[in-house]
Amino acid sequence: MLIQLKSGNVYDPHNKIFNVRKDIYIEDGSIVDKKYVSSKIDKVIDCRNKIVMPGAIDMHTHIGGGKVNIARLMLEEFHNEQDPNFDMTAIIAPSTLKTGLKYIEMGYTSCFEPALLPANARQAHAEMSDIPFIDKGGYVLLGNDDYFLDLVRKKASQSSINDYIAFVLKATQCIGVKVVNPGGINAFKFNQRALNVDEKSKYYDITPREIVSVLTRGIHDLGIPHPLHVHCSNLGVPGNFLSTIETIKAANGLPIHLTHIQFQSYGNNGDRGFSSAAVEISNYLNKIPNLTCDVGQIMFGQTVTMSGDSMTQHKNHKHAHPNKWMCMDIECEAGCGVVPFKYQDKSFVNALQWAIGLEIFLLAEDPWKVFLTTDHPNGAPFTSYPHLIKLLMDKSFRNDILNQLPKDILEHTILHTLNREYTLNEIAIMTRSAPAKILGLSKKGNFSHGSDADITIYDKNKKDPEDMFAHPSMVLKDGKVVVENGKIKEYIWGKTQTVAPEYDKSIEKNLGKFFDKYHTMKLSNYIISDDEMERLVGSPVSINECKHKRKE
């Protein structure tokens, strides 16, 4: 079936098209260039007075896996829609169904779970398979697992470490690699309570810097499109901007992506020992070409924090609101911590966190390097994205809120001096084309011939950007109209986006012995095959190409 989206104002940053009135053609779920259109058009969708963008991509959102399910069960009071006291606005660890509905209603068509434990990969994928509409993927956690740390301690060759990285990516069906508090989660199991970038872990005698260096090198050598996704050391600690900068340096100039950088951009100036270091971090972001980040903006209200960083989450449990929490050590791979939290606009610290996130957005010179996230649900639920977009696009709206916050934060932030207002072009880049590019999704985030027809159509007449981005007129996924005027038209199920770099298969022999000796499952059960993904887990894989052949 050939569909024509007629006369929309098209934003396609990948192809350098910004607000150009043109037609888009779709056939069999893919974009078709006009020059290849030969058959009769079956359906015309009138897009006059509409803005047409590729479907939005959330490159960092906690939507599947053990910690998400812990949060769901811990906070069941937020799910009971039949309860007269239920807060309909609360999206606190939503069910898979609700996650899919809320994302697609906002025009998001691909979402990526950033902390997928290898041992928990099967569950995480099974959960995400039950999220309707969207394509999904995961970043596998490495850098705290005993096998890897032992390789680094033994000064194993980069080539053998690369084999391990590539093997784990394939075995767990992931698209990227994340390291959380490099070495810190493991050190916590040996009762270390903090681990700075150049501090050695007591048991393995290696530093976070070494871990980041080895992993960034491995990902580069293997040609994995997404750079190492790093949750830095000292998350949330005043003064941590220094360790964030040291982590950047640990990549030795190779590509590195720092995640929820807002939580990593804190100074320790002032009476309260807490201040913004967004300027210092932004200077690095603007001058280093291989450095990207997502922000992890916070919003005021109830949420739940969930992280693989059990060291930090255990430290934070005294701030739990409501007062319940959980931490877990997991399978000699990593850990997790789930702590509900309420960001309060009357709180000096929370208000400054809000300002720091916005500073980073507004100081970033290149929207291709900064991604719009709230680290759902850690900073705020993903449903706050339209509000965040308005904060970026509307200075007076932003300042009105800033003026209601504790006045003493103004001594520690420059937010009130920043006049920048994001354009629709920039929003399209940071929510579509840039995340597709950084993840290596060549068929997403653009309207090139052959790309996936994941499309969001907004009402141009809506002057309030929050309203416009919250309520698209129409959303197409794989060329099918799934949302029209806020109503779900059809349920469809997406794919799992992965990458499969080359590796020497002989690693499986050694790993098999290691599993037999030290694990409680066999290596064969750790590996998730493509067939299992489709038949049992419930989501077929779409394997994306690496940037280049493996380098030794």
């Binding site: 928990n120 099967r122 569950q123 319940k324 059960n525």
Partner: protein, 416 residues
């Protein structure tokens, strides 16, 4: 299909450890455990088809065709007032199908072991909780406290696979300390003694909170029956020297105590306090009827672990009203679908209701079900996914025999 002479690994669906190293041989229809010393060999082999196995559907106890049985169920579901789907154990695919069925017919879903499940859930929903997983215990725990009396009999390979292994990444297995709190058989104690240091505190399980109070405080010894002052001093020393302390229990061991929740809370609180300056964690061992698989999958699909009712496009959760026992006792249902794929233990049926059983071919019943359809056992008759006791690891189960039993999912898909 595997030849009878070929030895293959069975991923065992029959307890919450889900061991994936059980060696079996099969001729395509029957299977044998290769290692006759395997602690749970008999339990697994019990799932072989016998002469009196029900490998065909029945209606009112009489043999029927599958299509007739399906037609009868559909007929009943089209006129029923209140449907209860009672899960006695099924895999992920079966659970997904159950959710679809409940959504279509407005049913209530409960698991037969929900009460035990809620005990652990209460920890999560009311306080803090420090947990660990099986591979962590194997490689990091140097001191393990096991509370209960039957736990090691219910999970026969727990010692061999997790608590008392030959290999460990970070601990000297010969110096591992195991503290047994409760009544354990002398055979178990002697077995543990062969390769670990063991201390047995034979206190009544109701006294666990008092025992933990004494451990936590520096105050003077107070009398607890079964605990001598010397034992207390010894245990305090062992625990204070621990590098990674793990507390293990199974809720069913506390079922006959006066306050199971208080016992579990006291263990968890002790571990939380311990983590202020040392490291340790809890590891409750779940039931063997797919309890964890059920709670995990239903949680991600609905936000709740169990006891949910589908109403239109949404659902309601109520621990009390949707308790299967309450629903049955108060006659708040008229149709019950029992789904039991992991055990042939007797299913209790209440004749006041229309009882449909999708069950193990060796199932037995307290009374004749209105309709019975034999379904395959995940990991024996069909592939599947199940979740381990630690709520972290899930395993891929693989079919090992062919006796043409449909999966639960196959049957439910014909009903929806």
């Amino acid at each position: 299909m595997t030849s009878h002479n070929k030895i293959i690994d069975l991923v065992c669906p029959f307890c919450s450890l889900h061991c994936d190293d059980v060696k079996v041989s099969t001729d395509g229809k029957t299977f044998k455990i290769h290692d006759k010393n395997l602690a749970c060999a008999k339990k697994i082999e019990r799932n072989n088809i016998r002469k009196n196995s029900l490998i065909f559907p029945t209606i009112n106890g009489k043999a029927s065709t599958l299509s007739n049985a399906i037609t009868q169920i559909k007929k009943n579901l089209s006129t029923h007032q209140e449907l209860l789907i009672l899960n006695h154990g099924v895999d992920l695919s079966g659970l997904r199908a159950i959710l679809g069925l409940a959504s279509q017919y407005g049913g209530i879903i409960d698991h037969i072991n929900s009460e035990a499940l809620f005990l652990n859930l209460n920890l999560l929903q009311r306080s803090g909780y420090m947990a660990t997983s099986l591979t962590e215990i194997k490689n990091r725990a140097d001191v393990i406290v096991i509370f209960g009396n039957k736990i090691l009999e219910k999970s026969p390979r727990l010692l061999e696979k997790v608590l008392q292994t030959q290999n460990s990444l970070c601990t000297d297995t010969r110096k591992k300390e195991i503290i047994l709190v409760g009544s354990f058989s002398s055979k178990i104690i002697n077995d543990i003694k062969k390769s670990s240091r063991v201390t047995n505190i034979k206190i009544n399980l109701d006294m666990i909170p008092s025992f933990l109070d004494l451990l936590a405080d520096d105050e003077k010894y107070k009398k607890v029956n079964g605990l001598s002052e010397d034992d207390l001093v010894k245990i305090k020393k062992i625990i204070s020297n621990a590098k990674y302390l793990v507390a293990v229990w199974t809720n069913s061991d506390f079922a006959l105590t006066s306050n199971p929740e208080m016992i579990i809370n006291s263990i968890s609180k002790y571990i939380i306090a311990y983590n202020q300056d040392k490291r340790g964690a809890c590891s409750p061992i779940a039931g063997s009827l797919g309890d964890v698989t059920s709670s995990q999958a239903i949680a991600w699909m609905t936000g709740f672990a169990s006891r949910i009712k589908f109403i239109g496009n949404t659902f309601k959760h109520d621990r009390v009203s949707y308790n299967n026992k309450v629903l049955i006792d108060n006659q708040n249902v008229d149709t019950i679908i029992h789904i039991s794929t992991l055990t042939s233990d007797k299913i209790k049926l209440d004749k006041r209701y229309f009882n449909i059983v999708l069950g193990h071919p060796n199932s037995s019943f307290s009374s004749v079900p209105d309709i019975f359809i034999p379904v395959g056992t995940p990991g024996i008759d069909c592939d599947g996914i199940m979740f381990r006791t630690d709520n972290v690891v899930s395993v891929a189960l693989k079919k090992i025999r062919e006796i043409k039993l449909p999966s639960t999912e196959d049957i439910i898909n014909r009903l929806t």
